[in-house]
């Protein structure tokens, strides 16, 4: 039916062009000009996207099939980089597992914390503006400054964290210097940096989109706070939560800066995440071909996780439009 309609209007346009009045011819030319104008307006972004995102992605796909050290020409080696990663790179799977461990804990903790902060700010009580600023400040701190700050906080001998733990009778661990506590230390940093950032703002927008009438009606029916949260708030902000979770997983899989700045992947590879492994392959070993292969592996894993989340969302994400 749609095709028939389209064909009819195409024929009509052609006829207008051929036989129509000057007014008809003007209209067809105008619509074409409008289309051209539209593309011209978005062309800066489109060209930038093609040149600086798609272009490099395609280049890196090709380079992942080569041996390439930047300073000499790439040599095609097929899938050797991928085979090496899967079979001979001692840190390929361990670095992936460490990254999954980090993401597996930091994402749910971070999302729940951001939701809690957003719900607190949604109360519209006295001091909300102050709390909002305090929550948001960590997300504005530059990564390097934050890393140095936490390196001081985590100082095992003289840092304030172990000092406070000592006061309550707990002997603090080595934190960044401890193989078993280094990743939990990073998770805490991620929690601090992420609780009040864009995730919280998005949750806040989602919460403010929930109609108050629903809460009032539920209250009238005798629903308590937890019931209202479980049966009204959660379902209605589920699209927001879904969006935040996807972004959180993508961000967590790319964990790099804090490890690079504070531990360089140590102690004993405890914080040698996948992105750090990729960075070292690229800029320590100058093995750009292999680094490109690792980048594509991470991309495929990220797409895979996103796909799983999208499929899973049909069972718990509720869209009001139906």
């Amino acid at each position: 039916m749609g095709d028939e309609q389209g064909a009819r209007s195409a024929t009509a346009a052609a006829t207008r062009l051929e036989k129509g009045s000057w007014w008809d011819r003007l209209l067809v030319r105008r619509s074409r000009r409008r289309a051209v104008k539209g593309y011209l307006w978005i062309s800066p972004w489109l060209i930038g996207f093609l040149a600086f995102t798609i272009g490099p992605m395609l280049s890196s796909l090709y380079l992942s099939l080569t041996k390439y050290d930047i300073i000499t020409a790439p040599t095609f080696i097929g899938l050797s980089n991928y085979v090496y990663a899967a079979t001979r790179d001692a840190q390929f799977f361990p670095s992936l597992l460490r990254t999954f461990y980090y993401a597996g804990v930091s994402v749910p903790v971070g999302v729940v914390a951001s939701l809690g902060a957003a719900m607190l700010l949604n109360q519209r009580k006295r001091g909300t503006a102050t709390y909002r600023t305090l929550f948001f400040l960590p997300s504005l701190t530059p990564v390097v400054a934050g890393a140095l700050l936490w390196q001081w906080i985590y100082d095992p001998q003289f840092g304030p964290l172990n000092y406070l733990l000592d006061k309550i009778g707990i002997h603090g661990p080595g934190w960044l210097g401890s193989p078993s506590w280094a990743i939990p230390a990073f998770i805490i940093i991620a929690f601090w940096a992420g609780i009040g950032g864009n995730r919280m703002v998005i949750f806040l927008a989602g919460l403010q989109g929930v109609s108050q009438e629903l809460y009032e009606a539920a209250e009238v029916d005798g629903a308590g706070a937890w019931t209202r949260f479980r049966h009204i708030t959660l379902p209605l902000i589920s699209p927001t939560m879904f969006f935040n979770m996807i972004l959180a997983v993508i961000g967590a899989l790319r964990v790099f800066e804090v490890a690079f700045l504070t531990t360089s992947g140590g102690p004993n590879y405890a914080t040698w995440f996948f992105m750090l492994h990729l960075y070292n392959a690229a800029f320590r070993d100058f093995d750009m071909g292999y680094a490109s292969a690792l980048a594509w592996v991470l991309f495929i894993i990220t797409v895979g996780f996103t796909f799983i989340q999208v499929r899973w969302s049909s069972s718990w994400v509720y869209y009001e439009e139906g």
Binding site: A14, A51, G55, S59, A73, P156, G177, N268
Partner: protein, 463 residues
């Protein structure tokens, strides 16, 4: 024409854009051929070698050429170029153009250099690092010019440099850079004199031993409740620090040909065991978990009484201020009867594609001159390894510098370099792999086989 009468459709736009992009990618991916090393004209000279900067012969063309100098940025980038006008006045046919490259991190500098190499826009003269970067790999791939013929032609005296610095900058018998920065490795011990005075411990003597370090360390370590307020000794837990101890005991991380690891040799194992015992037996050194950043930082903060470190600590008095006095000694002699050392070298190389090799070499000798070296030492802190520079009163009168000179006078051998040039990768494997000892996860004896395997895996990789 589209169904709606539109001639300019989304599909056609995407097709045109894709064609443009595809053309751009093909152009960008056009292959750069590696540069072929150029050969400088050879001519022999029977006159005595000269240590002065090479001057124009007087018969060169009057046309001025620009020699681009890529150098790493120190604290004061312009200090490096301060004497450039003096050279240009004496050599009117050459204009020097300094191009500093950020040195916030080694990888940043070498990545930038690699980009310049790929683009074919490397400077005529380039700062390189023989130990910490891909220098020898880049030499192997033909990016730097051998200097032997230019040295012979100009009758340039290489004897003015510390002898051990030149092999580090050479490959297969050819010299590819002149040494520009050096220190003798992590074979110095900096100590807190106030802490020694408070504990009534004598300062380290030249003939002290590794057992003396332990004995002193026990007296200097101070604890309160379950926290250590001051550790007696801080060992540097990086590969180039262990290598100094290894060499004092007559061994090394890798064999002379750079193809096999010696980390399982008894001397190497005992060296690592000594470091491990400092932490877990004598408890005078911080474990990995107890080190916030580096042992150098802990020393400056007054948390360690003695620290194994290198010449970069000479600037620490400015950070320490009035809190305490510091001095330096050399590490004790090892079981091989010598103090282990490993010379770290930076150099100035010439790009193999330079259009003006003669002029570039003249500029290079200027950058290696005593006047330029003393200016660098006074401003941005680099030490050119010339014997006359290290003997100059302006440096010798600096606190603790005499110890650095003494160490360099011993001509410590060069940085350990694997046959496949994968020095950074090797360092990383050693640094990470030895952490199992310093965190207490494994004893040295149990962990050595895995460490050996990991190191050998790197050594077995191709060039």
């Amino acid at each position: 024409m589209a169904a709606n009468g539109n001639y300019f459709t989304r599909r056609s736009f995407v097709q045109v854009s894709g064609a443009i992009l595809g053309g751009a990618i093909l152009t960008a991916c056009s292959q750069a051929t590696p540069p072929a090393p150029t050969s400088a004209p050879a001519s022999a000279s029977n006159a005595a070698p000269t240590s002065a900067p090479v001057q124009s012969s007087g018969s060169s063309s009057k046309q001025q050429v620009t020699i681009r100098v890529n150098y790493r940025v120190g604290d004061d980038p312009k200090a490096y170029e301060k004497l450039f006008p003096d050279f240009e006045k004496a050599n009117p046919d050459i204009a020097l153009k300094g191009e500093p490259i950020s040195f916030g991190d080694y990888s940043e500098y070498f990545a930038k250099m690699a980009s310049l190499m790929a683009a074919g826009t490397l400077g005529d003269i380039v700062w390189v690092s023989a130990g910490s970067g891909p220098y020898l790999s880049e030499v192997f791939k033909g990016f730097f010019m051998p200097l032997d013929d230019l040295v012979k032609q100009a009758n340039y005296d290489l004897g003015q440099f510390y002898a051990s610095t030149l092999p580090a900058l050479s490959l297969e018998g050819k010299l590819y850079a002149l040494p520009s920065d050096t220190h003798p490795g992590v074979q110095l011990v900096f100590y807190n004199k106030n802490a020694f005075d408070d504990a009534k411990v004598d300062y380290p003597k030249p003939d002290w031993t590794f057992d003396d370090i332990v004995a002193m360390g026990k007296k200097l370590t101070k604890s309160s409740s379950d926290r250590v307020d001051m550790f007696g000794f801080g060992a540097d837990l990086l590969s180039y620090a262990f290598e100094c101890i290894f060499r004092g005991n007559g061994t090394s991380f890798i064999s002379t040909d750079g193809k096999t690891t010696w980390v399982d040799h008894p001397e190497a194992v005992s060296s690592l065991q000594w470091v491990d015992d400092l932490m877990h037996v004598h408890k005078i050194a911080p474990t990995r978990q107890q080190i916030a950043k580096t042992t150098d930082d802990m020393f400056v903060a007054g948390q360690i009484a003695m620290v194994q470190s290198g010449a970069w600590m000479l600037t620490s008095p400015a950070k320490i201020g009035n809190r305490f006095q510091m001095d330096a000694a050399r590490m004790p002699k090892g079981s091989a009867g010598k103090i282990g050392g490993m010379v770290h070298i930076g150099g100035e190389s010439m790009y193999s594609k330079t259009k003006y090799p003669q002029q570039a070499f003249r500029a290079l000798t200027f950058l290696e001159s005593k006047e330029f070296a003393l200016n660098r030492a006074a401003t941005e802190g680099g030490f050119v390894p010339r014997k006359d520079v290290f003997s100059d009163p302006s440096l010798l009168n600096r606190p603790m510098f005499a110890m650095v000179k003494q160490a360099l006078d011993d001509n410590p051998p060069p940085y350990f370099t694997p046959y496949n040039f994968r020095t950074s990768e090797l360092q990383s494997v050693v640094d990470q792999g030895t952490d199992v000892f310093w965190t207490g996860q494994s004893s040295v004896k149990e962990g050595i086989p895995k460490l050996k395997q990991d190191i050998q895996t790197v050594l077995d990789k191709p060039r």
